[in-house]
Symmetry: C2
Subunit: 299 residues, 2 copies
């Protein structure tokens, strides 16, 4: 099978029926008509063998994970995910079947979240297989990382810690529906991929370090795996939770809690106060866990 | 320097002043307001060490080449390039300085073509350094690969062959301005990246194999390097020309030639006739060069 044949075979499996796609996959560029009045969101994320999945991880799960990582970025803006383009950089040991299964997993996940794959590139090189996906979405008013103010509360979806041993990092549900709902409540929002502590710091830095964040450490929902709750350090520092954390004004808290329509856990885990970018625990002591978030230049 | 510091340093160098960017680089997703009445184009392409550049190729040139490869895809739709997001997957031997120089080359090229880098991802793994860039563009009416008809002529920009020995593949100018101009003349268009022969076949296949294409082989402009013109085989089969080929209706040919405002060579190199997807030379003999275009599953 040639590359063109592979892609043709793949394209024929793509769901049709999105009237806004004007040039589908298979041309030099794909094209779509943006929804009037909406802003276009765009983000990209990678999936690399040995880092985000292991050689023995089923290919379908890998494909789905790559898309879900990107869906989490759109969720963190409160956006509606729309289209994806995929780069594959695979070695000669990567079989056609593995790659088909990978695409199958990605397309199935795309169907679930109404995302259409409309473009891509396939190349090969030695070294670990690596994939990069760019996702687009739309929103009338994207929720940024900045926007928290003195007196706001920090809320979270879901649970934190132990993502790798529990395989949550492969089987998570990106909080797309929750993000859409939250777009009318959250003043600032981020998805937690590099650990609750590091991503909270990013939220604080985005407010130009004019705030401190005091965590209600007793309220942080710890993931339970094999009858053991994640420790506070694991909840703060393990990566790949793919949950949302967001600032809510004190006047909206009651309404948010009452109207929350999801089975996903909703927790009030912190408070913002005027400050200089410090993160404190509930005894107002600086949180001093080592930042274990992934860092290319440090690791 | 941490990854966040690197990215912050990078973001501060990004050109500002595009009023349609509503959320710049540095949030979970970037956001922009699409131009009313325009379709959004999207395409992605990769740059891999050892395949698209060598370890000794200057980093700035690598960064520019990646963007130019993508610009060529937008040019092939007759579109206006707008925004880019970049995935970097680099090994531990890749220095901070190299990566800064790479970004510098990409940003400088972006300035030249009015493309803004608005998002990205940085990861590391062993193996060759690999980069993937997604570009967006816009067009009121994108020129697709399909659309050629019986009696149309095939035109080309520029010259073909010897792209690697001449280093054309590093120093080419993507035909963005030519593509925009051609959007009111071309009925079908593609950029030649995998060789004139293979990309012509793609143009023919897009017309559902209802056409044959007869090349005026004497008219194909061969690249001259070190006082030697590319052979016919080199012109047809070498890759990475980054030129446009396109179908023009016979009634528009005179006007196209008279109004062509560029110094870029414009050549009439073939004719479309009713048929079954065959490619012939000017003696109506099937062109039978081995297809040397890159193919993941064959190479």
């Amino acid at each position: 099978m040639t590359e063109d044949d592979f892609l043709k075979d793949l394209f024929s499996k793509l769901p049709s029926g999105d009237a806004q796609i004007t040039v589908p996959n298979g041309d030099d560029s794909a094209a779509f008509t943006p929804t009037p009045g909406m802003q276009t969101l765009i983000a990209c994320d990678q999936l690399i063998e040995g880092r985000h999945y292991l050689a023995e991880t089923p290919a379908e799960i890998c494909g789905a994970k790559l898309l879900k990582r990107n869906l989490s970025d759109i969720a963190a803006m409160g956006g509606i995910p729309r289209y994806a383009v995929l780069s594959c950089n695979v070695n000669s040991a990567c079989s056609e079947q593995w790659l088909k299964d990978f695409h199958h997993g990605l397309l199935k996940c795309g169907e679930e979240f109404s995302v259409h794959l409309i473009g891509g590139d396939l190349a090969s090189s030695p070294g670990p297989n690596a994939f990069s996906l760019t996702i687009t979405g739309e929103s009338a008013k994207p929720i940024q990382r900045c926007g928290a103010e003195d007196g706001d509360l920090l809320f979270s979806t879901g649970e934190f810690g132990l993502s790798f041993p529990s395989e949550h990092h492969l089987h998570f549900t990106p909080r797309v529906e929750e993000g859409k709902f939250l777009s009318s409540y959250a003043k600032a929002m981020i998805d937690v991929t590099d650990g609750l502590l590091l991503d909270s710091q990013r939220l604080l830095k985005a407010s130009a370090n004019t705030l401190d964040l005091t965590f209600l450490t007793q309220e942080i929902p710890a993931r339970n795996f094999l009858a053991k709750d994640a420790s506070l350090k694991e909840s703060f520092c393990d990566g790949e939770d793919y949950e949302l954390i967001f600032a809510v004004g004190p006047k909206r808290v009651k309404e948010l809690i009452e109207r929350w329509p999801f089975s996903t856990k909703l927790s009030k885990i912190g408070e913002f106060k005027k400050g200089t970018g410090k993160i404190l625990d509930d005894e107002h002591i600086l949180l001093n866990f080592i930042n274990k978030g992934f860092d290319h230049f440090q690791s």
